[in-house]
């Protein structure tokens, strides 16, 4: 009886291993065929993530790794300062109230982005909000300026840098 059972087990194992080998050959064949086709260049692809990013607060300080060359008004207190960790990229954000007007800040950051060779891909000047969106190497930057008269200020500035 034991001999019969052992023979049965051996059969099953043989079938299983054969299946694995067949699948391996099939996958190899498919990849080989794809290699013979004319390759047409495609755009760089990003993998989407569905998990919430991890947020780190920095209180009264700028986020770690926030670019030091981005102008930030002296003597201000950060309304918000945080980083968001996404898969493959990191967002660094600061928000502060400014004594400059929306127009003045818009001009300031436009000049800064141009001087530092950011490619400004989007500009917006609306009745209440103005913004600049730029890219440089593997980074993006979003500068958003809105009117705000809280505590004697004239505008609110939000700057987010995306490092990929």
């Amino acid at each position: 009886m034991d001999d019969i059972e052992q023979a049965g087990h051996k059969k099953i194992i043989t079938i299983g291993v054969s299946l694995v080998v067949i699948i391996a050959i099939a996958v190899f064949a498919i990849y080989k065929q794809k290699g013979d086709e004319v390759v047409v260049p495609v755009a760089e692809q990003k993998v989407a993530t569905s998990t919430a990013p991890q947020k780190t607060e920095f209180g009264i300080n700028k986020p770690a790794d926030f670019p030091t060359d981005i102008p930030v008004e002296k003597g201000i207190k950060f309304e918000q300062s945080y980083s968001l960790d996404y898969k493959g990229q990191k967002q660094l954000t600061i928000v502060f109230l400014s004594a400059k007007t929306v127009k003045e800040n818009y001009a300031l950051y436009t000049d800064f982005l141009k001087e530092k060779n950011w490619n400004i891909s989007k500009k917006y000047e609306g009745p209440k909000v103005s913004s600049l969106y730029g890219t440089k190497e593997n980074n993006d930057i979003n500068v958003t300026i809105s009117g705000n008269t809280t505590a004697g200020s004239k505008s609110q500035v939000s700057i987010s840098v995306l490092k990929k």
Partner: protein
């Protein structure tokens, strides 16, 4: 059995049978039959503002004439980008390139039927020109079997066909020129817009394909957009900045948008606190959600209008600084139509009564028997001294007659006259005094 199944699963995983998830769209337009111009439409997806285009025109063909040439067709992406086809060749002359990305074919020569008599086709970025040496035979006319051999067609996309020999075998025809081409050129496009795609055909002389230019192609690729979602607890409005600018209003919004970092600015709603600005990064094929919570502003003094804080809720009165409840039994209604519950005329104190009434805290009391005038000048109609009771007459008077009047003699009290047989003596009724000793 379980062990076997587990083994198979592990094997599949190790073989990498599960491809990585990608979120790029690609569409390629070409003519698989070598000849014929393919025209199509590429409609940009919502949320896509940039595409990467690779394309070439059709390659130039070799020829069968000393005069006529057969150029490859142009390829184009709307009016944004066009590349030219390679130029055809003719006897002894090469076909030139269609533009950057292509190369000229080589010229044919006069020779005795050697392999180098005809010219080779020009290359393109995506194809290799026809090579006479790899052709079946560079003899122009039929061989002993009756088969016609011609020059080699271009390989891949946009390359020129090779030349071949004249019927005499002495004159070599040039190779067709390679088409102009571009590789991964970024174009800014408008979401939802259809763009006409034209694919250049390879030049050709006949249906056998000898010396034909390779067909052109157009490949369009783009990064899939993600979704920007917005929700607000009350009807409001907002502006979202980023790779694209989005404005919206209401309580929700959902917009397909290109990947990047977005920032929302919530607009003010009267009598509500405005949510703080937020920033999130949108991945290709992903979703980000901006959620705004507006909170109603409350007045510290109890008023209901957070802007001025000077309008009080029902039954309360604004005294210049705060909302106060009515005294003396409260009020009903809302300012300016506040009414004292005790009938008084002056909320919130409610202590001044209408005419004919006296204020006896906490109420307005109508006079007994009526009064005229208003406090403090209230007067009992019965001439009594104490409104609203109107029950106390001035000294020597009483209300026996209904009004305050001098008090009648005791003996007159009743019907106001002496009984029969009596007479009024010193304000009293009594028996008449007829003898001196009765006084």
């Amino acid at each position: 059995m379980k062990k076997i199944i587990r083994t198979i699963v592990v094997a599949l995983v190790l073989l990498g049978g599960l491809p990585a998830v990608t979120f790029a769209g690609v569409q390629t337009f070409t003519d698989p039959a070598l000849n014929g111009t393919v025209a199509n439409t590429f409609t940009v997806l919502a949320g896509v503002t940039s595409v990467s285009v690779s394309m070439s025109g059709g390659g130039g063909a070799c020829c069968g004439s000393f005069i006529v040439v057969k150029d490859g067709g142009n390829s184009s992406f709307g009016s944004l980008l066009t590349v030219n086809g390679g130029h055809g060749a003719k006897a002894l002359q090469k076909g030139t390139a269609g533009g950057a990305g292509g190369t000229d074919g080589t010229s044919g020569v006069i020779c005795g039927g050697a392999a180098n008599c005809p010219g080779v086709g020009g290359n393109s970025l995506f194809g290799t020109g026809g090579d006479v040496l790899s052709g079946v035979n560079n003899v122009y006319w039929t061989n002993t079997s009756g088969t016609k051999f011609r020059g080699s067609p271009g390989q891949g996309y946009g390359s020129g066909g090779s030349g071949y020999l004249s019927s005499t075998g002495n004159v070599g025809f040039g190779g067709g020129g390679g088409a102009g081409a571009v590789d991964s050129q970024q174009l800014t496009v408008v979401p939802g817009t259809p763009y006409q795609i034209t694919v250049g055909a390879g030049g050709k002389w006949d249906d056998n394909g000898a010396g034909a230019g390779a067909p052109g192609f157009v490949s369009v690729s783009y990064v899939d957009p993600g979704m920007v979602d917005v929700s607000s607890n009350i009807s409001s409005s907002w502006t979202i900045t980023g790779p694209e600018t989005i404005t919206g209003s209401g309580t929700s919004q959902s917009v397909a948008s290109p990947p990047g970092t977005y920032t929302i600015i919530w607009n003010d709603v009267p009598e509500y606190t405005t949510p703080a600005t937020q920033s999130f990064t949108l991945a290709s094929g992903g979703t980000i959600n901006f959620g705004g919570t507006y909170t109603a502003i409350t007045c510290a003094n109890g008023a209901t209008n957070p802007t001025a804080c000077d309008q009080c809720p029902a039954t309360y009165s604004y005294n210049g600084t705060s909302c106060v409840a009515c005294s003396n039994g409260g009020c009903s209604g809302t300012e300016p139509s506040l009414i004292c519950n005790n009938g008084a005329l002056n909320p919130p104190t409610c202590s001044q009564c209408p005419a004919g009434n006296a204020f006896l805290s906490p109420s307005c009391i109508p006079c007994v028997g009526g009064c005229s005038g208003s406090e403090p000048s209230l007067t009992c109609n019965n001439l009594a001294l104490n409104p609203p009771y109107c029950s106390v007459c001035p000294g020597g008077q009483d209300l026996s007659t209904g009004v305050c009047a001098p008090t009648a003699p005791v003996s007159l009290i009743g019907n106001g006259a002496c009984d029969a047989g009596e007479e009024l003596i010193l304000s009293e009724c009594g028996a008449p005094k007829t003898k001196w000793w009765m006084f």
